[in-house]
C-alpha cells in the first residue's frame, strides 16, 4: 500500500481517534518510564548498599584495630594518634563518610565506658565530627536536623554556643524537631533542664511525654527537679506529665499537693492523681478516694476502687460493698478484687500476730 494512501487515511481519521491514540501513547510511555525507574532504582540501591557495607566494615576495622593496638600497651595519646592518622589517610585517599563514621562511633560508644568512651569522643572531636553535625543543624530538612541533634547529644557537644542554638530549635513549629531539641538539652545538661514546661502553652502529647521520660531515666534521682512545682500549671498535659514523673521517680515529698489534684476539674488529672497516690501509698488520700467512689465517670470510679484496695483497711469494705451490685461489669469485678485484697491484708496481719 503506498505511503501516500496511509497518510491520507490517517489525515482523514476523526479527531476522537487522535485523542485515543495520544492517550495510548502517553500511557505506554508512562509504563515504560515506570519500568525503567524500577530497574534503575534496584540497581542503584544495590550498589549503594554494597558500597556502604564495605565502608562500614573498613571504618569498624580501623577502630577495632586501634583498640587492639591500645590493648597492646600503647598510651592513650599514641592510640588516639594512631586512629586519627588512619582516618586522615583515608580522608585524603577516598574522602570520609562522616555520617557513617558518626553512626559507627555512637554505636560503639554504647558498649564502652570510662576511659575508652572518653577516648572515642576525643577521636570524634579531633576528626571534627561535631562540626559536621553542627553544620547539619542549618539544613532545611527537619529529619536532617533531628539527626544532627542526636549526633550532637551522642557526641556530647556541651559548647554553650551549641546549646544556645539548640534552645532556639526547641521552639520550632515542627513537633518532632522541638521534641528532639528538648531531649538534646536534657541529655547535654548536668541536671535536666525542664524550664520549657513553665512556658509551654500547647499540649504535651503522650508521645512527647514517653520520650521525655525515657531521657530522664538516665539521670540519678537526686539530679531530677521536683516535679510537684508543675502541679499548679494551667496546662493540663503538664500536670499529667508531672504526676506521672512523681509516680515514676517516687517523689512523695509534696503529698498535700498531690492529694489536692484529686479534686482537679479535669477527669484525666483526677484519674492520674488516683494512680499516683496509690503507687506512692499515700494513705491519707483514702477519705478523698472514698468520696470519689460514686463518681459518674467510670475511669475515676474504677481507679478509686483499685486504689482503696491497695491503700485502705477493712473500714472501707462497707463503702465498697454497695458497688458489688453496680450495673457496670468492670466496677463489679474490680470491687470484688479490692474487697478480697483488703480482707487478705487482715488475714495475713492476724496470721503474723498469731505466729508471734
Amino acid at each position: 500500500m503506498p505511503i501516500a494512501m496511509i497518510t491520507d487515511q490517517l489525515a482523514n481519521l476523526p479527531f476522537q481517534y487522535w485523542v485515543l491514540a495520544v492517550a495510548i501513547s502517553l500511557l505506554m510511555a508512562g509504563c515504560l518510564v515506570l519500568i525503567a525507574i524500577l530497574y534503575i532504582r534496584r540497581l542503584v540501591s544495590a550498589t549503594r548498599k554494597k558500597k556502604r557495607h564495605d565502608l562500614q566494615f573498613r571504618y569498624q576495622y580501623f577502630l577495632y584495630d586501634a583498640l587492639v593496638e591500645s590493648e597492646a600497651g600503647k598510651t592513650p595519646e599514641a592510640f588516639q594518634e594512631f586512629v586519627v592518622n588512619l582516618f586522615r589517610e583515608e580522608e585524603e585517599k577516598h574522602g570520609l563518610n562522616k555520617e557513617l563514621l558518626i553512626n559507627i562511633i555512637l554505636d560503639l560508644k554504647k558498649s564502652l565506658s570510662g576511659q575508652s568512651r572518653a577516648q572515642l569522643l576525643e577521636i570524634a572531636a579531633t576528626l571534627k565530627l561535631p562540626d559536621y553535625a553542627l553544620r547539619k543543624l542549618d539544613r532545611l530538612s527537619f529529619n536532617t536536623q533531628i539527626q544532627a541533634l542526636r549526633e550532637i547529644s551522642g557526641l556530647q557537644v556541651t559548647d554553650s554556643a551549641v546549646q544556645e542554638k539548640v534552645k532556639q530549635i526547641q521552639y520550632a513549629k515542627h513537633a518532632a524537631l522541638s521534641q528532639e531539641a528538648s531531649l538534646t538539652l536534657i541529655k547535654l545538661g548536668e541536671s535536666p533542664d525542664l524550664s520549657f514546661l513553665d512556658v509551654l502553652t500547647t499540649p504535651l502529647s503522650q508521645w512527647q511525654q514517653i520520650h521525655l521520660h525515657h531521657c530522664l531515666r538516665n539521670f540519678e534521682r537526686h539530679q531530677l527537679p521536683d516535679f510537684s512545682q508543675w502541679l499548679t500549671s494551667t496546662n493540663e498535659s503538664v500536670v499529667l506529665f508531672s504526676l506521672r514523673m512523681i509516680t515514676e521517680f517516687e517523689q512523695c515529698n509534696n503529698s498535700e499537693l498531690i492529694i489536692h489534684q484529686l479534686s482537679h476539674k479535669s477527669a484525666n488529672v483526677v484519674t492520674e492523681a488516683i494512680y499516683t497516690v496509690s503507687q506512692l501509698k499515700i494513705a491519707s488520700a483514702v477519705p478523698t478516694l472514698v468520696s470519689l467512689l460514686h463518681q459518674p465517670n467510670p475511669r475515676i470510679q474504677i481507679s478509686s476502687i483499685r486504689a482503696i484496695g491497695r491503700l485502705g483497711t477493712t473500714q472501707q469494705v462497707p463503702d465498697l460493698e454497695s458497688l458489688r451490685i453496680d450495673s457496670s461489669y468492670w466496677v463489679r469485678q474490680i470491687t470484688v478484687e479490692a474487697i478480697a485484697r483488703l480482707r487478705t491484708k487482715v488475714d495475713s496481719a492476724s496470721e503474723v500476730i498469731h505466729q508471734s
Binding site: L34, R41, A175, I210, Y329, R332
Partner: protein, 483 residues
C-alpha cells in the same frame, strides 16, 4: 423516528459509559497521587522515630489483642506464641474460642497450662453465652486470656473479646494473620500524638503465601509462586498503598481490614460493637464508629499507615477465591444498604458526600457498569455495524491505565518498604501487572456480580476457607536426618 430514538439511546449510553470511565480513572489517579504523598510524608515523619522509648515505657496505653478462633488447631499454638512476643510492653492477648469443634481449645489449655478463673462474664455488648475464662498458671504467659464461648461467628467472638478486654485500645485480627513484631509500636503512634482523636488505625496487609514462617513469625519473605496468589499480592499492594492511603489522607476511609486493625475501645462500645448479622463486619464497624462520632459532633480521624504490618494467606484455588470475593461483595452491599442514610448526606461530612457515593458508584456498581458496557457493545455488534476501532482503542486505554496504576504502586513499594528483594521479583511483578487485567480481573468481576446476586437472594453464610498453611522452616536436626 425509530432510528432517531435508537441513535439517541446509543449516543447517551456511549457517553454515559465514557463519562463514568473518565471519572473512575480520574479519581483513581487522584487517589494514587494523594496516596503517594501520604506514603512520602509518613516515611519522612517516621524516619527519625526512636522506638526504644516506647518499648520500655510504663505510659503506653494498654492494648488488648483479640484473636477469634474457630477450628484453628493446626496453627493456634504457634500463632499465640508469636503474639505473646510482640514488641510492646503493655498488652494482653485475648483468644476467643468461638465453639471450635476440633481440639484447638484443648491444645491451648495443655500448652499454656490454662486454668479456669471463676469470674462472671461481661455482656456489655450482647454476645452468645460465655462458658469459661482461662488464664495461665505460668507467669511467663500472664498476658494471655482465653475465653471459651458458644459458637456465634467471628463478629460475636470479637464482641466477646471486647467485653473482656482490659485495654483502652483493642486490636482485632484473624487467627491466621501474622503480625510483624513491631506492629503495635507503629499502630499505636497515631493515638499518642496530639493530632485530633484517632478512633481506629489500620495497616497494609500483605500476602504471605510462599513466605517461610517459624513459630508463627515470618522469617523469609517471598513473592508467591502461584499465579493466583501473585495476582492478589499485586492487588493488595495497589489497593493498600494507593487507594486506602489516599482515603486516609482525606479522612474518608470506610474500612479498616478485619485481618488487623487497632480501635478505641470506648468508641467501639458506644457505637454498639461488631454487627453479627453481616459478613462484612469490618467495614460495617468502621462506618458505624464514624457515624457515631459525627452524630456526637466529635472531631476524629481514621488513620491508615503504609507499613506492611500484617501478613495473611491468600486463597490459592479458584473456588476459595470465588467464595472470598463473593463474601466481600455481599459484605459491601449489606453495609451500603444498611447505612444508606449516608448517601449525599452533608451531616456526615466527607463520608456522606464523597466516600459513601464513591464506594457505591465506583466500587459496588463498577462490575455492573462494566458488564452493561460489554453487553451494550455486543448488542450493537449484532444489530448494526460495530465500531471495532473505537471499542478496541477504548479497551487498550483501560488496560494500559490499570497496568500503569499497578506499576505506580510497585514504584511506591520499591521506594518505601522494598519487601520483595529477590532480583527476579521485579520482573515477576511487572509481568503480573500486565497479565492481571486480562486474567484476574474477570474472575473478580464475575464473583463480585455473583456476590451481589447472592445478597438479593438472602445468602448469609461465610463459606469455608481451607488454609493451605505456610512454608515452615525445617529445624537443623530434621535436615540432618533427611540428608
Amino acid at each position: 423516528m425509530k432510528e432517531i430514538i435508537i441513535h439517541s439511546i446509543s449516543y447517551i449510553a456511549e457517553n454515559l459509559i465514557l463519562v463514568y470511565a473518565i471519572i473512575l480513572a480520574g479519581f483513581s489517579f487522584f487517589l494514587s497521587v494523594i496516596g503517594l504523598i501520604e506514603v512520602y510524608k509518613y516515611l519522612i515523619n517516621n524516619r527519625s522515630d526512636d522506638r526504644n522509648a516506647l518499648l520500655s515505657s510504663p505510659f503506653t496505653p494498654r492494648i488488648s489483642l483479640i484473636v477469634p478462633m474457630y477450628n484453628e488447631g493446626e496453627t493456634i499454638i504457634d500463632s499465640v506464641r508469636s503474639l505473646l512476643s510482640l514488641q510492646y510492653n503493655n498488652y494482653e492477648v485475648v483468644v476467643v474460642n468461638d465453639g471450635s469443634t476440633d481440639e484447638s481449645l484443648q491444645k491451648l489449655i495443655e500448652y499454656f497450662q490454662l486454668v479456669p478463673t471463676y469470674l462472671e462474664s461481661n455482656y456489655e455488648l450482647p454476645t452468645k453465652k460465655v462458658k469459661c475464662l482461662y488464664k495461665s498458671r505460668q507467669k511467663v504467659f500472664s498476658r494471655l486470656v482465653v475465653i471459651d464461648k458458644a459458637n456465634g461467628g467471628k463478629a460475636d467472638a470479637l464482641n466477646t473479646g471486647i467485653n473482656h478486654a482490659q485495654g483502652s485500645l483493642v486490636a482485632a485480627m484473624d487467627a491466621d494473620s501474622i503480625i510483624a513484631p513491631e506492629a503495635l509500636l507503629k499502630m499505636v503512634k497515631p493515638f499518642l500524638q496530639n493530632k485530633g482523636r484517632v478512633i481506629a488505625t489500620g495497616s497494609i496487609i500483605r500476602i504471605a503465601n510462599s513466605c517461610t514462617v517459624e513459630d508463627g513469625s515470618l522469617v523469609n519473605i517471598q513473592l508467591p509462586k502461584g499465579w493466583l496468589a501473585r495476582f492478589q499480592a499485586l492487588e493488595y499492594i495497589r489497593v493498600f498503598l494507593l487507594s486506602r492511603l489516599g482515603w486516609s489522607r482525606l479522612n474518608g476511609l470506610l474500612i479498616i481490614s478485619g485481618a488487623f486493625g487497632l480501635f478505641d475501645r470506648e468508641i467501639i462500645i458506644k457505637a454498639g460493637g461488631y454487627c453479627t448479622k453481616t459478613v462484612g463486619e469490618d467495614m460495617e464497624l468502621t462506618i458505624r464508629m464514624r457515624r457515631y462520632m459525627h452524630e456526637q459532633k466529635l472531631a476524629y480521624k481514621v488513620v491508615h499507615i503504609p507499613d506492611p504490618l500484617c501478613w495473611t494467606e491468600a486463597p490459592t484455588s479458584l473456588s476459595q477465591l470465588s467464595r472470598q470475593r463473593n463474601r466481600w461483595a455481599r459484605g459491601s452491599v449489606e453495609t451500603l444498604v444498611k447505612h444508606r442514610g449516608l448517601f449525599f448526606n452533608p451531616k456526615y461530612g466527607l463520608m456522606g458526600m464523597l466516600s459513601y457515593p464513591y464506594w457505591l458508584f465506583f466500587e459496588y456498581l463498577a462490575p455492573f457498569i462494566e458488564v452493561v458496557g460489554i453487553g451494550y457493545f455486543g448488542i450493537k455488534a449484532i444489530l448494526s455495524q460495530p465500531s471495532w476501532l473505537n471499542f478496541s482503542l477504548f479497551l487498550v486505554i483501560i488496560y494500559l491505565f490499570s497496568v500503569f496504576l499497578s506499576l505506580v504502586a510497585l514504584i511506591v513499594e520499591e521506594f518505601s518498604y522494598h519487601k520483595y528483594q529477590n532480583k527476579s521479583d521485579v520482573a515477576k511483578l511487572i509481568l503480573t501487572a500486565f497479565v492481571e487485567p486480562i486474567v484476574f480481573h474477570p474472575i473478580v468481576l464475575v464473583n463480585a456480580l455473583k456476590g451481589s446476586l447472592d445478597f438479593l437472594v438472602g445468602k448469609k453464610s461465610w463459606g469455608e476457607m481451607k488454609r493451605k498453611g505456610f512454608a515452615k522452616q525445617e529445624p537443623e536436626s530434621a535436615k540432618k536426618v533427611a540428608s
